[in-house]
Subunit: 99 residues, 2 copies
């Protein structure tokens, strides 16, 4: 299992525009082989550098890479996405603790 | 439940120094009322902007704020932490999907 974490810069006035775009991409990715769940986080802190953070699990790095295909690229190539800078990277969980 | 996400800038040569500091703070925070679990993620992507991301759950924003007390501040005031810029913020999960 691997984890894709993507941090998004979203101005407060742009929440709805961001959510509309996010919903399109999320629906597409959830249809892909190896998708294993995701949580979209919205900041409650004021002045958060990244107001939205998506944490998604994939069965493998290969599944995740394959899902970022032409269909994905067409979705994120829309001009509307240019408003939202994002910082995506792939991660492994190296330490996990329960309460 | 609230989620604290903290993204850390860690040069590749500094992994061990970061992990030693992280372990001290993590042990401290896990002893606090309202701590509800955490996962430390390490990037597998090359050139990730943030090579470590901690995702921690707290029972409430108040618990999380109370845990960031003098003891916490003393730990993170160490000079060694200056090497590692971090971007912390508090979040709520606004969308959760299973595979």
């Amino acid at each position: 299992m691997v984890t894709l974490i993507n941090c998004f810069e979203v101005p407060e006035a742009a929440d709805q525009r961001f959510m509309d775009l996010y919903a399109q991409v999320n629906a597409y990715m959830r249809s892909k082989p190896g998708y294993a769940g995701n949580r979209l986080h919205k900041a409650t802190s004021e002045h958060a550098a990244y107001r939205y953070v998506n944490v998604a699990q994939w069965q493998s790095a290969e599944h995740c890479a394959a899902a970022h295909d032409d269909g994905f690229r067409n979705l994120v190539a829309k001009d509307e996405w240019k408003e939202f800078r994002s910082v995506p990277a792939l991660f492994e969980v190296i330490s996990e603790n329960q309460a």
